[in-house]
Each structure stands twice: as C-alpha cells, then as structure tokens.
C-alpha cells in the first residue's frame, strides 16, 4: 500500500468509482501516480521487450526499456537470451548507446570495464595493478530476474517472486496461441521499429488498443470516405470484446458465419491462409475463430499491444491485405509516451506479400498512417485535460460507463463463445477498459 496519504486517498477514490464507470483524471497526469506506477507496475509486471527475430544470432542485441530504465536484450554465445540493465557495475555508466547491433563484449567508456555478452566482467585496464583482489564473479552485469518468451515474443520481469509469464498471461495465452500461433513457423520483424513521441499518458493508447472500438465510428471517418473499409462501420461493431484476465483484453471483428462475404483469416492472402489451415496446433475452436476473424486487436497489460487486420497501401490501386503490427507504449513521464511499433510477417511468406503488407501497415498504422495519425491527437487531449485544476474540481471523472448495465447499451454477455474469458457482444461496451484499471488498481494498492 502507498505510504503517501494523498496517493492513498487518490487510489481509494479510483477504487470507489471504477465500478460505477468513473475514472478520476489524476490517473493520467498526477506525478505521484506515475512514480508509483514505475515502482508497483513496472518493477513487477512482465514487460514486452523484443521479438526473437531481432536477435537471431549469438552476439545480437537490441536496447529497450522497462519503465524508464534502459536494458540490453542480448543473445549470448550459448544462444541464451539475456536482459541486462544497461549500466557498468563500476560507476553505473550506460555501456550501450546503440539501438541494435552485434557484439561479443560491452565496454564502459568511463574506465573501460568490459563485460562479455553473457554479463560476466572479463577485465578492465591495468587489471593486475588495479583489481588483482576483485572477485569478477560478483561484478557482472545486473540481469532481469525473469525472462521468457511466447511465440517468439520476449518478455522480462524484474520481480523474482512474480508468477511465470504463462500465469501472468492467464486466459490471454489462448488468444496469443490463436493470433500469434496461427502460423506454425512463427514470425519475423520487417524493418526496424518506428519510434515517436506522443504527449499522452501511456495508459491511454494501451486502453485504446485494449477494446476501444467505439472511436472508429467517428475518429476514423476520413478513412471511410477514401474507401478504406471493407465492412460498413456499424456492421463492424458486431464483434466481441474479450476480458482475458489480469487486465489483458482483446477485441474481434468477426464474420457471423464461415461463409460471410467479408474478410476471413484477418485478410491474409491465400497461401498464408493455407498455412493456418494446416496448423495442427490450433484447436477446432481456434480454427473456427481464425476463419471468421476480420480484425483482432488487444493489449497485454500493462503496455504491449497488437493489431492484425486487412488494409490496403492505397485503396484505389490495391486490394486490402492482412498484416500484423505490435506496439510498446513506453512511459516517458506522466504526460509523455514513446510509441514503438513493428510489423511482423509470417516466416515463409513471399517477398511480394512482405512488401505489400509493410506498405499497408505504414500507410494506415504508423506515425504517418491514415488511422494512427488521427488516433494520437485525442490521446494528447485526454492527458491535457487531466492536468486542469478546473476539471479536477468540477468534472474530475472520465466516463467509462458504456455497457455498465443492460439498460445502458446493446452489449450482452456471450454464453456460447468458444474461447476462455468474459465476453461481450456487440462491441458497445467498456467492461474491459474498466478491467484494465481494475488490474492497475490491484497492483497499485498491493
């Protein structure tokens, strides 16, 4: 429990109002909340860092962050993936400034302490004269307490007592098996990630990808007008919201029947659909959902999201094609987020598919993308209002009441959904967004 009395009261207020569909604005801008998140969320959560294909060979590394701290994700000479805090053990100077690369060793610029890519301290200038008595074994790089992967997605956790990644993922594992496990040979990243800075709190994009489909009806109208949507927007809302436990959630736009004329298998082209159909690891229920899926979009708590859907690089001249993009919403202070975004392509997919899928992703979901360019601006607006004294005094709460009761919206609990979790349809409801903050509160108050 927080020791700052104001913070304790604030969290109490979140607790008292969340189930009424009200979220106090302080959650998005208060510096004390943010500091507490760095401690209670990011020192404990499983955080996504990298895709396996970014570091395929021994010595490959990428530089990433957990909370605001810099970490090196490296594959050592024995091919083991390790996550090191990016600081020399001597005086704490960062030992890596590159975004990515290949190295057998990392050397500190200050005094030249040198570490192998398995973290071991191997030497320093004038070792015999300076450090003859130092035990190298005790002064290796600091490592994340737990590191694990699922479908090539590497996560790390800084809490040695935290549950395993599988346990943390809960019901979301079944959906990751569906969406990322669809291709038996897995995925590879295409290109280096896009990175850009949004003046918003990190939780806002996380909850947006975690089942805010309602914004499609208005915010993305320009895309409807230039011919981007294969399915009318209102019809598209006839999908499902899945609360997948532990704050994770995802949303499906889905065909009602396997012979619906709209897109199937997330719009992947035929040769990739054949790979999914031949995949013995998908259960019949997963095969059925894959078949009927037009869009799958979700967030793994706290700050990792994915989106698979069919869009075109240029609707006038080319057909929509299914693609997969994944994101990190990197906290960079209470009111700033550094977005990281990758495009994944199935291993074994053709060069032609990769080019088109990447162009489609870039044209739609990227900083210059026709959807995402519009998404980010209201996120900054939500955050700006959270700093307003007048708002805090008079309005204070953001409305999360859609689907709070059966009187409120058309959304209903679904009883015949083939997968795990708590499921609502149609997508006019915010149960999962409340669920994200329920989990957030649980960790913040623990």
């Amino acid at each position: 429990m927080a020791t700052n009395p104001d913070l304790t009261e604030l969290l109490g207020s979140v607790h008292a109002n969340l189930e009424r569909g009200l979220l106090p604005a302080e959650v998005f801008a208060d510096p004390a909340i943010y500091e507490e998140e760095m401690e209670r969320i990011f020192q404990r959560a499983w955080v996504f860092l990298a895709h396996d294909s970014e570091i395929p060979e021994p010595g490959d590394f990428v530089r990433r962050r957990i909370g605001e701290d810099s970490f090196i994700v490296a594959r050592d000479e024995a091919r083991r993936v390790r996550v090191f805090f990016n600081a020399c053990r001597h005086r704490g100077v960062p030992i890596c400034e590159s975004d990515r690369g290949r190295a057998t060793h990392f050397r500190c610029q200050y005094h030249g302490w040198t570490f192998r890519n398995d973290g071991r301290l191997v030497g320093a200038p004038a070792w015999a004269k300076a450090y003859r008595g130092l035990n190298r074994e005790e002064w290796g790089l600091l490592e994340a307490d737990q590191v694990a992967e699922v479908h090539g997605l590497w996560f790390a956790c800084l809490d040695p007592t935290a549950p395993s990644l599988d346990e943390w993922l809960g019901d979301m594992r079944w959906y990751l098996d569906l969406v990322f496990g669809a291709f038996p040979e897995g995925w590879e990243v295409w290109g280096d990630p896009h990175r850009w800075v949004i003046r918003c709190n990190w939780k806002i994009p996380a909850e947006n990808f975690g089942t805010d489909d309602y914004h499609l009806l208005w915010l993305h109208r320009s895309n409807e007008q230039i011919g981007y949507f294969q399915v009318p927007l209102e019809y598209n809302m006839e999908g499902y919201h899945v609360q997948a436990g532990n704050g994770h959630g995802l949303s499906f736009s889905i065909a009602p029947t396997p012979d619906d004329p709209g897109p199937h298998y997330w719009g992947y082209p035929e040769e990739l659909v054949a790979m999914i159909q031949r995949n013995p690891r998908l259960s019949p229920a997963q095969q059925d959902l894959a078949n009927r899926s037009r869009v799958a979009v979700g967030t793994v708590f706290p700050n990792w999201s994915f989106l698979a859907l069919p869009l075109s690089p240029d609707p006038k001249t080319s057909e929509p094609v299914g693609y997969m993009t994944i994101r990190i919403w990197q906290p960079a202070g209470p009111t700033a987020t550094e977005a990281w975004s990758w495009v994944l392509v199935p291993r074994g997919s053709s060069e032609g598919y990769r080019q088109t899928a990447y162009r489609a992703a870039m044209a739609t979901f990227s900083p210059g993308g026709s959807f995402e360019a519009d998404d980010v601006k209201p996120w900054e607006g939500v955050t700006a209002t959270a700093k307003s004294r007048f708002w805090l005094r008079r309005g204070r709460f953001y409305n999360y009441q859609m689907g709070l009761s059966e009187d409120m919206s058309s959304a209903r609990l679904v009883s015949d959904w083939p997968g795990p979790g708590v499921v609502y349809s149609p997508r006019y409801e915010e149960n999962q967004q409340r669920g994200f903050y329920r989990r957030w509160l649980e960790l913040m108050q623990r």
Binding site: F61, S222, Y358
Partner: protein, 166 residues
Amino acid sequence: MITYEQYQQLCDVLYREAELLDRREFRAWLELLDPELRYVMPVRVTPGSSDASSFSPAGRFFDETRSSLEMRVARLETGFAFAEEPPARTRRLVGNIRAERQEGAHYRVGSNLLLWVAYGDAAEALVLAAHREDEWVAEGEAWRLRRRAIYPDWTTLPLRNLTLFF
C-alpha cells in the same frame, strides 16, 4: 555536368515545391510528381558500429507512389483528417542544392530540408531536418519528380504524427 541555367531551373522547382507545400496547395504539388514516382523515407537508427549504415534496410516512414500520395491528399481534403484539423503551419527551407545530369533529361538533385512546424496555439514549434536525394526529369518546360529518398536526422520522431510532406 550541368549548365548554370539548368541548375537555376532545378533550384527554382525545389523552391516552388516548398512554397506549394507551405501554402497547402497539395493538388498543385501533385502536378509536379511523375506518375512513376517512388517516394521513400527510411527509418534511422543508432547502429552498433560506426561503419554500419544508420538507415534501416527495410524500415520506412514512407514508401509511396504518386497514387498513394494522392490518397493522402484526398484524406486531408475530407475535412475529417483530424490530425490536420486545424492544419499544421509549416515553413520549409531548402538548401545545399547540388545537381548533376544523368542520362537524357534525368537529373540527380541532392538538397537539405529544414521543416519548421507548429500546431494550433502551441507556443513551441519544432524543426525537422532531413537530407533528400531526388531524381527530376525535364519534360519540355516542366520538371517532374521521379524519385525522392528522404533521410531524416531523427531516430525517434519528436512529433505525435507525420502528416507532413517532405
């Protein structure tokens, strides 16, 4: 080698292009683009060694054709492209223009671009810097942009979005 007159014409077309974009006369700007245009902006990274390229082999912020740029313009014209409602104010400074003639009427033109951008009533503005490598084709009196590669000087884009043309 090119003549001084040809150099002057190329400088003029780059300045005119910058002016059209600053004035948001996007349809007139599209007229400068060759139907075969390829327009790319690679992602920049801080690589692991000083001799490695700092541009991503496959990562792009833009990989456009004239048709896809037209689509971006059409989106801005819907009135619902909220990223640009109200529109950004921009000022482009083009400099260090160097040109050489390739075969026929094709010219390779390198330039530096400083793009000043401000949104709404925000007091702060940003300057984005990039190097551009173009191929322009002379068609009688007219010039058409056939190829443009934009090499940005950022690795992390300091903007919330990228709805500008470079």
